[in-house]
């Protein structure tokens, strides 16, 4: 399944790196602690978080994550957006809270198995 398959389901607004939406995603990791994401996410995961600070781009890059979904309708700061665009990390925002965003993704990914 691709990121683009979730755009409608999660009302995603794609903020950066639109071309990254066609990458195959392998899993989802939900966390707001950056060292936890460093430790426990896997390459190809989508990362669901409420963090919007610049350093999320570095974390996603270091772990080869497929992209970041920022929940709860939070705004993406301009410096984070620019860095993500430069480093080709797809970032999307959703009005859904983390629980619901993760739940909907879980269901879709399980259906496909």
């Amino acid at each position: 399944m691709k990121l683009s398959d979730f755009v409608g389901e999660l009302s995603l607004e794609v903020k950066t790196c639109k071309e990254g939406l066609e990458r195959e995603i392998t899993g989802v990791y939900v966390s707001d602690l950056l060292s936890d994401v460093m430790a426990n996410s896997r390459a190809g995961d989508i990362w669901i978080t409420l963090q919007t600070h610049l350093n999320i781009v570095a974390v996603a890059g270091m772990k080869n994550l497929a992209g970041i979904i920022i929940v709860g309708g939070r705004k993406l700061p301009e410096d984070t957006r620019q860095k993500a665009e430069a480093e080709k990390i797809p970032i999307m925002t959703t009005p859904l809270p983390a629980f619901e965003a993760a739940g909907r993704m879980y269901q879709k990914l399980k259906q496909q198995e």
């Binding site: 602690l33 936890d36 430790a39």
Partner: protein, 145 residues
């Protein structure tokens, strides 16, 4: 499938304390170099985690520091030393969940107290040395398979 390393490669990066904007630059450069050399994916992943956590700690806690790497046919040695406040109780600092990160750093998502344990878990040899008022030195070795 090792690799194009028939000679030893070393180098170093400066790390500036408080510079969150460029956080991860040193670790990213090293990761790119390892990819170019054709190093095993899992070794790159472990090195990325260990070096990024060490780099972040310098940025969060110290005034300045340096990451030095040494790649040989056997593996990667990394040394990160800083001019910072040092660590009073290393055993405590090594415990998962222990953190002295201030609130504004926690708001960014740092301060889970997982960085040092992450470094240790992902390296084959991990050494930490610290002098209060002077700084902290971390040495890590990751062996090729």
């Amino acid at each position: 499938m090792p690799i194009n390393i028939d000679k030893e490669i070393e180098g170093s990066f400066q790390i500036i304390g408080g510079n969150f904007v460029n956080a991860g630059e040193a670790s990213t450069q090293l990761k790119l170099l390892l990819s170019k050399l054709g190093v095993d994916e899992d070794i790159i992943r472990r090195t990325a985690i260990a070096t990024f956590e060490a780099e972040m700690n310098v940025i969060i806690y110290a005034a300045a520091g340096r990451m030095h790497y040494h790649i040989t046919p056997r593996g990667i040695s990394i040394k990160v030393d800083d001019m910072g406040p040092g660590i009073e109780d290393i055993e405590l600092a090594m415990q998962e969940g222990y953190s002295t990160a201030p609130d504004w750093v926690r708001e960014m998502g740092w301060g889970a107290g997982m960085g040092l344990p992450n470094m240790k878990k992902n390296s084959d040899i991990f050494k930490i040395d610290s002098v209060v008022g002077e700084g902290t030195t971390i040495e890590m070795v990751i062996n090729f398979p």
